[in-house]
Amino acid sequence: MKLSALQQSYLGRRSNSFRSSGPLDSSSDGAFKSPAAGFWLVLHGLSCLISLLLGFRFSRLVFLLLSTSSTYTSPFHSPTELAKTLDIRSVIPADPVGNVPLPFPNKTATNSRVVVGRHGIRIRPWPHPNPVEVMKAHRIIERVQTEQRLQFGVKDPRKIIVVTPTYVRTFQSLHLTGVMHSLMLVPYDLVWIVVEAGGVSNETASLIAKSGLRTIHVGFNQRMPNSWDGRHKLETKMRLRGLRIVREKKLDGIVIFADDSNMHSMELFDEIQNVKWFGAVSVGILASSANIDETVVEKRGEEENPRMPVQGPACNVSNMLAGWHTFNTLPFAGKTAVYIDDRATVLPRKLEWSGFILNSSLLWKDGDKPEWMKDIDTLDGDIESPLDLVKDPSVVEPLGSCGRRVLLWWLRVEARADSKFPPRWIIDPPLEITVPSKRTPWPDTPPELPSHEKPVIRIQEPIIKRTTKTRTSRSKRRSKRKHDETRTDRGTTGFDKTLQN
């Protein structure tokens, strides 16, 4: 009771005195109505003085302490709402931030539930996401996006047939996993034709089995040569082999070539649905070089923004195919990689296969197809560019807003030819040999030890001379190994310290 009287006098003051002065008069008559209220008024005045000194509202703290001891229904809800809110009391915590009682309801708003003035800030006990709800939200988002795709996306999407030439090598897992995940995200029906040089292997088969896509895995009975030129020629043959599969099985859809080290954007798969017969998209070329030559760097420094070269269709003003952007190989003359593990720039061909898209009915033996399409059985695999598939290159449809959008990127990065990797990248049995790392998080070895090792240093001198180049890394080398392996380490640290002295 006393609490409510004090509350009322306090609150009466609040509602009347929002940012204005002279509160005491209005509440004083209310206070004197009950005898104990005078005492509370004095106490309140005292707490106001304390607040002035301390700099925050001291009385709030008192209320906080008092109200947590009593039932906490009163702070938030006017008595009329108590019954309604009793069941959700448990949700709202006892002392949220800013727990100050509601002000006296305003006389002028008679039937309104909404009260003017200060309200508490409701925070639930565990203000973090609930995983069940997060999953529900993600399902809602998926459903909305499916609906969007149905309404505004491609009408009657066709199946996509992806032809990928590959072979077993160290980086195969890296590249193929990337392509695989891109294909798994494609929202349309997909068939993945993987043509493998050197025959079907378990390595590749286990990789692509993880995708859950419909795959056709065939082998090609030639090993992949070690030169880029040879590799390119073999890949062309492998792609034709893939196209022959499309013809044999009479697959219906859109054929694209996804080389395993390329990167594809999801918009590519939406864009290719627009192809009628034979289309081309722009391919960004990431012709990286491991050892960047100085001359190349200088040239690049001259331009403001070294632009990524792009291969693809070029259009004129009226958005008709006018020509082709191809890769300019002149700056790289003489510096290109010849063998797969060369540390030089790997160049693409004039026109890469991955930038071309076919309608699968072009490959069938019978059926209506335009007369400009050559029969793939008549070709022997010595075709230089995909344009050799058609008699007349002007029939090619430029896609991706007439070649202005780059939808995929070409890259060739391979490991050394003699690099080994564990089959299927599974280390079995687990490694037992531990090799000391160059940097460990443990602190420096204590300084007295090198003095004992001094005679050792002299013996080790020739070794030390060789290692002066990499002295910085070695000086940081610390290890906790005892005896022989560490003697050289400690020796070198000792040597460095003596040098510094």
């Binding site: 002028t108 539930r113 309200h119 409701r122 925070i123 203000p127 997060v134």
Partner: protein
């Protein structure tokens, strides 16, 4: 023979209907009495007479501060311009059903662009004194067939602080007139029975210019940009937005589904088009331009404002379009939103995609059929014909011209 003929006609009709339905890009007509009303044409159903006030009430004020044309209270200016050239305008006051007073009461701006309402009561008073002395129509009904556009925070209470506004109440001389205002809250002093609630002004050209392709997937679940704590006026929190915005922040700042922050991104409009739900919580007043933006960009508005009256509530079925969350339920907002069945969400999105819905929220220049100007006129037309009781006998006075704070009685 006859039967075949009628059967054939029926089939042909069904065929034509199905073709027409096919062409419609899956928006849903807001069917029933509410939805069709949006497409009503007010021309011919009412006549509005525009008083000729001296330019110190309108043009000169606008010249002093042209910022009034682009802030969210600009509806009063555009309404005036629309009425001047609209077919519902009549130059003969005798045949007019409604009378409009072109007064720009919300155009006294601070350097930061917020309108100060302190002089507005005096301005309105002086305008009404002018029209009651120069024309007989005010005294005929004491303003019951006049309407005023008062888009300020609390309408004709003319104050930005709610407690002060409630104390003042609606300006006494405007008590009988129809108020066209953005503020709407049930059982509130500042909302008269029979007022027309309108959306705040949002620049239509800017919004049209920032549209992104419709097939961009909506990947943000809940989106909000704005203040949670008004540090300048309410540093401890609890007053601003009745603590609801602060509750949203404290409960959901760690939730990745909620893209909420106080930043001002340049891609605000584009982001709204990539969101499924847009929060429209109350601020110092319950209304906000976020509702308009959410409707235009197809984002389902989540309205957190108890007892709010939304624009054109008698014409737009807001319950079916938006989600209403009570302020006390804010801690459970994520539960509420994720438990809405997907079919309901899709239906709301279809209703929002309806172009007449979007047009009804905007004030385009020049005016288009079905836009907010026409909805206001529709609302006025729905109140016709006037009851005979509003016409006063000569000499009879109901309004108290000297009521209200003393400061209001000073001449302007």
């Amino acid at each position: 023979m006859r039967k075949w003929f009628w059967g054939f006609l029926f089939i042909a009709f069904g065929f034509v209907c199905s073709i027409a339905a096919e062409r419609n890009p899956r928006t849903e007509r807001i069917s029933g009495s509410a939805g069709d009303v949006l497409e009503d044409d007010p021309v011919g159903r009412l006549k509005v007479y525009v008083y000729e006030l001296p330019s110190k009430y309108n043009k000169k004020i606008l010249q002093k501060d042209p910022r009034c044309l682009s802030h969210m209270f600009a509806a009063e200016i555009y309404m005036h311009r629309f009425l001047l050239s609209s077919p519902v305008r009549t130059l003969n006051p005798e045949e007019a059903d409604w009378f409009y007073t072109p007064i720009y009461a919300t155009c006294d701006l601070t350097p930061t662009g917020l309108p100060l309402p302190f002089k507005s009561p005096r301005m309105v008073r002086s305008a009404i004194q002018l029209i009651s002395s120069s024309w007989p129509y005010w005294n005929r009904t004491e303003g019951a067939d006049h309407f005023f556009v008062v888009p300020h925070d609390f309408g004709a209470c003319f104050h930005y602080q709610e407690e002060k506004a409630i104390e003042r109440g609606i300006l006494p001389i405007l008590q009988r007139a129809t108020l066209v205002q953005t503020f709407g809250q049930r059982n509130h002093v500042c909302l008269n029975e029979g007022s027309i609630t309108i959306p705040p002004y949002a620049p239509p050209q800017k919004m049209q210019a920032r549209q992104i392709p419709l097939d961009t997937p909506r990947s943000i679940f809940v989106y909000f940009r704005g203040l949670f704590y008004d540090v300048n006026n309410d540093p401890e929190g609890g007053y601003y937005a009745r603590g609801a915005r602060a509750a949203v922040w404290e409960n959901f700042k760690n939730n990745p589904l909620f893209d909420i922050s106080t930043e001002h991104p340049t891609t605000y409009y584009e982001d709204m088009q990539r969101a499924i739900f847009c929060l429209c919580p109350l601020g110092w007043a319950p209304w906000s331009p976020r509702l308009v933006e959410a409707v235009v960009f197809g984002c389902i508005p989540v309205i957190i404002a108890d007892d709010i009256v939304l624009p054109f509530a008698d014409a737009i079925p807001w319950e079916e379009i938006g989600v209403f969350v009570a302020e006390e339920d804010v801690p459970k907002l994520d539960t509420i939103l994720t438990s809405i069945p997907p079919e309901v969400i899709l239906r709301k999105q279809r209703l929002l995609a309806n172009p007449s819905m979007k047009r009804a929220m905007l004030f385009p220049q020049p005016a288009l059929p079905g836009d907010a100007f026409h909805q206001i006129l529709n609302g006025l037309a729905r109140k016709l014909p006037h009851q005979k009781s509003i016409y006063l006998k000569p000499g009879e006075k109901i309004l108290n011209w000297t009521a209200g704070p003393v400061g209001d009685l000073k001449p302007w």
